[in-house]
Symmetry: C2
Amino acid sequence: MEGNTAPDPAIHRMLHPRSIAILGASNDPLKLSGRAIALMKRFGYTGRLLPINPAREQVQGLPAHPRLAEVDGEIDLAMITLPADQVVEAVRDCAQRGVPAAIVGAAGFAELDEQGALLQQQLVDVAAETGTRLLGPNCLGMFSLRDKAMATFTSAMDGDFTPREGPLAFVSQSGAFGTFIFSAAQHAGIGISHFLNTGNEADLSVAELLGGLVELDEVHALMAYLEGVHDGPELLAVARRAHELDKPILAVKVGRSDAGARAAASHTASLAGEDAVFDGVVRQFGVVRADGMDQLLGAAMIFAGGRRARGEQLTTLSLSGGAGVLMADAASRHGLDVAAWEPEWQHRMAEVIPAFGSPRNPVDLTANLISDPGMLRRALQIAVEHPGSDLIAVLLGNADHAADELIGAIEHAYRSTDRPLVVVWTGGSGRPRERLRELGIPCFTDPGRAAAALGALAGYSLRPAPPSPQRPPDVDHKVVRAILCEARDHGRRHLDEHESSRLIAAYGVPCAGAFTAKDPHGAVAAARELGAPVAVKVLSRSIGHKSDVGGVRLGLRTDAEVRSAAEDLMDLEPDVRLLVQRMSTGTELIVGIKRDPAFGPVVVVGLGGVLVEVLADSRAGVVPLDAASAKRLLTSLRGSGIFAGIRGQAPRDLDAAADAVARVSWLAHDLADELEELDVNPLLVDDRGVVAVDCLAVLR
Amino acid sequence: MEGNTAPDPAIHRMLHPRSIAILGASNDPLKLSGRAIALMKRFGYTGRLLPINPAREQVQGLPAHPRLAEVDGEIDLAMITLPADQVVEAVRDCAQRGVPAAIVGAAGFAELDEQGALLQQQLVDVAAETGTRLLGPNCLGMFSLRDKAMATFTSAMDGDFTPREGPLAFVSQSGAFGTFIFSAAQHAGIGISHFLNTGNEADLSVAELLGGLVELDEVHALMAYLEGVHDGPELLAVARRAHELDKPILAVKVGRSDAGARAAASHTASLAGEDAVFDGVVRQFGVVRADGMDQLLGAAMIFAGGRRARGEQLTTLSLSGGAGVLMADAASRHGLDVAAWEPEWQHRMAEVIPAFGSPRNPVDLTANLISDPGMLRRALQIAVEHPGSDLIAVLLGNADHAADELIGAIEHAYRSTDRPLVVVWTGGSGRPRERLRELGIPCFTDPGRAAAALGALAGYSLRPAPPSPQRPPDVDHKVVRAILCEARDHGRRHLDEHESSRLIAAYGVPCAGAFTAKDPHGAVAAARELGAPVAVKVLSRSIGHKSDVGGVRLGLRTDAEVRSAAEDLMDLEPDVRLLVQRMSTGTELIVGIKRDPAFGPVVVVGLGGVLVEVLADSRAGVVPLDAASAKRLLTSLRGSGIFAGIRGQAPRDLDAAADAVARVSWLAHDLADELEELDVNPLLVDDRGVVAVDCLAVLR
């Protein structure tokens, strides 16, 4: 389920405010309540800056108003620098004055204690009641570098720091770490358009702000630092919109490991959510997920250039053969292809490099490059012309004295192509790196980090479209309603295997032929109808129960075997009912529906049998899924090699499996309010189709 | 098989040369043949510097000798800066003059063309003939910073660069990339004792030089950059010695991926070798393998401190909760444990941090730390006292203005404990990082890189001892000789299944009971003797053949089934012989022997059945292995969860499996000259032991 895509106009005004009122503005530029004004004076805010302070006529040399109500003209944004207990009242003032959005910097809300949580609830209520949008509380505020709107008390600008404007917008849940990332990004030459810190997210979430930022022309890529996801649907909506606009979202989300998730849960009021679900969203919607700050900044550097890769083939030119090999290793790890060039292109390259170099790719220019830097221009010319060079990396090091000519060659090549080209310049004074970054050419110090960034760029460039699921036309809604009504009427939350199978069968998922039976006689009749071999199972309404009590008999071939099994099972419990089912074979899949706190119902797929126990391997996707996305979920399983058909088997019918998963996802979508969870285990897939052999559903 | 452990005295003299002769010394300090003298003059070489030049009386102000023969006194090292075609003669001069070691800088040998390869062979020959040890050719030479012996023409010292001496020695096969790594290391504040570039390795290899360096008191850790391994046994020997001395070897070896290995093969005369074997050596011998330069330098920074971890438990103190969670994520990825503290320790921590922080671990000190930097001293005091804090990380950022007090607190804590303590200081001016590094305290910019380094440190600190295998006392060498003689007498390289099984049985590996049979009658008799169920197989002398021709019948229970199967199989080929074998069950392992170009015979283990096809998962180890190492090989398989016993099975008898692997490794060791390869597939392991069900061996 996805959220709204049209951003609130209040967010647009906040992102480029023509006027900012500072409530509680201090005359002291070093105080938290004085910093924003000091910053805006220092950098030259282009709009109207309106200090509000009932005790002073002037604040830091600017005329002050005693109250918001007394300010003339439109106010796009209020920054409330008052203590926590005065904030709710201040928001009311903003609403009354028609200010569409306010920043609440103060701490002392949900992050502090229960009383703070109550105060935060009041903030939530007043925002909902008045429609005034809130950033925070417990946040550093925001800034927009184009208009020098520095509605923040961040320390990131301390000293003689001059921020570098650029095409990346950055939204961080964390103030402190967000600031560090901002500083490190600027140090790495990455220009930023906006920085916003959401803090406790009483109202505006990271996702909703990204939704506003993605619409801005000057923003070409978005960075997000998340500790948890509050509004999954909104995140899906912005991811879809970002895909449409071809503006990548680069996200770090902490809590990836179990240890991290436990720590995240203790750290914020955030729900860490199930990280696997977030990962599924990332895969489905083309979000670029970074492991940490280094990867985030590496990706930012390369995405800032705005180029896209046409394929995954990397050409590397290196002045050290070993470095080229190291790059090939790292590139493979990150999904890139480092194939040798075609003989005719090798031949061309061989003409411009020394005989003891290598023209294959990675191209080894040899250390002769230092004494003959012109070689780089000639080699790059060929690399740029080579049609298979989807991405190009140049690996250099030290060589400060030859830097001018080398950089000239790189710049010339960079301008002559629209393909991604990066430089790895290891060691040396660092001045060549700075110069390249000034020229807008991504430059790294380490081949591994460059490879990670190039891999992210290729992955994004070649991303599949987000799911565009089509509702299956053949769902038997009458059956679905009947099963749910029957259970509800009897106050049952657990559907038995027969009911659960009929539920998915109503959504078009093939189920193993089966009949219920009340006694051994009925079981034998059912078995005859189905044909041997059959399974006889206790019909249970609690997941897992029937195996625990030994309530399953498999591979029964004769009447006598069926009768004997049925008799045994009927002895297990009073009033037991039996399910007689045709036996099937195939590769075992598990398909389930779970509820995620942030994203609602999700489909989880995994391999069954031995593999699930050994690999603990599963993938999650938000619903509904189209068949293409469902197929990607399945093929992204670590053990997906099994689908090729092992030990001489024909390939498994992946299309049928994907279709079944997509149908289950529609069931999850349609019954979001009714269904708590569902497990198909196993769904058997062979070379000609799928069949669900066991299914249990639990209602909410 | 391991090499010699006593380093050649010539290497020792080269590593601390009291006198260096420069053959072909140029008066021009900018020429390659003049650079070494210029560098030694600039840094003040502590020994005798002896330019050899028949055309000049003085070289760069130093008295020159026309010929080596005319120099008085001992000469520890010669640096030959002559063109390739004069090098062999110069080495002869060195030998005649009693110079134990010479550096050959010139290119134009095996890296160039076939003629160069011939010239290199002459070098190899003259080194072997005279005993003069050679570094190179095609190398940058070496330097030792303690004595300022700069026998190198590296450009790494260009400009006003002053090298930083320290406890890490670095040997690189690559000149260019080695130089970049050296420069980057120095830039990161990592002090170096020696740098050596081995180039074409006509004589001295990385391993042998590490063997010399590891004995030096001032060297506490070794770094190696490898493009291929030339002498595996020597590397094992130095790894074992380094383990004894507790001096870690930090290694980057390129060619890890298939693409990289292909590229490496094209790049150097090096054999990239099978990377999996190198990885096995790393695991067995406690070498720290880094993925690339970043990881290498991160590890170097932390190992330079010399501290060791007592366990894997990481305590993190952070001024941003989110950064702490990110660190927990990364730490888990690198094998560290980030458990919450015990309640009483949380209680102590809670007393010194704000109420909205977290005392659990990761400890969230909150951004209040900026205004109250004294908090860090109090919190670190508790962290250092906490007995479970095996490793400690402090996460800070920006905060230049509070840096002095924060650094003071960190230094105080660092000095008060012998546990590893690192700082991650993100963003800001970089000056705090420099200051911390000056104090010898490892400092990173990114939590992820710090976690990788801490993980490497913990892994090394807790490394198992290298294998100390005990020869199994019960090997039946008579049987082994008989089988080999029989095959050799008949000119056969392929042993059949029965012979191969008897071979491993002679080494004490349990094999499934089996008899050979010449006809159906014999097969039935054998089956009766063995007890049902049995398998009947064609006895084949080529691997894979018997399955291809359908020569295996399984699960035969009755005389009639055995007879019929035997009759069918005898029709397959003329003169076919049969093997009748007792059927066994269990989890399938594959155990094999292969030959590695660098390390000789190696044992390869993997999971069989479905898992091998889906996971393509195997591990290699050099032979012989002890049972503990064999067990680690097995448990390091990605699918090793299967040993716990799945689907209600009892745990598999890993000790029996490890014993079998160790016995196979002894077979590989003892028959290194006779055996080409051997495959046990499968070795079945259940809860009570192992049994080899199929085995085929090929002789050399």
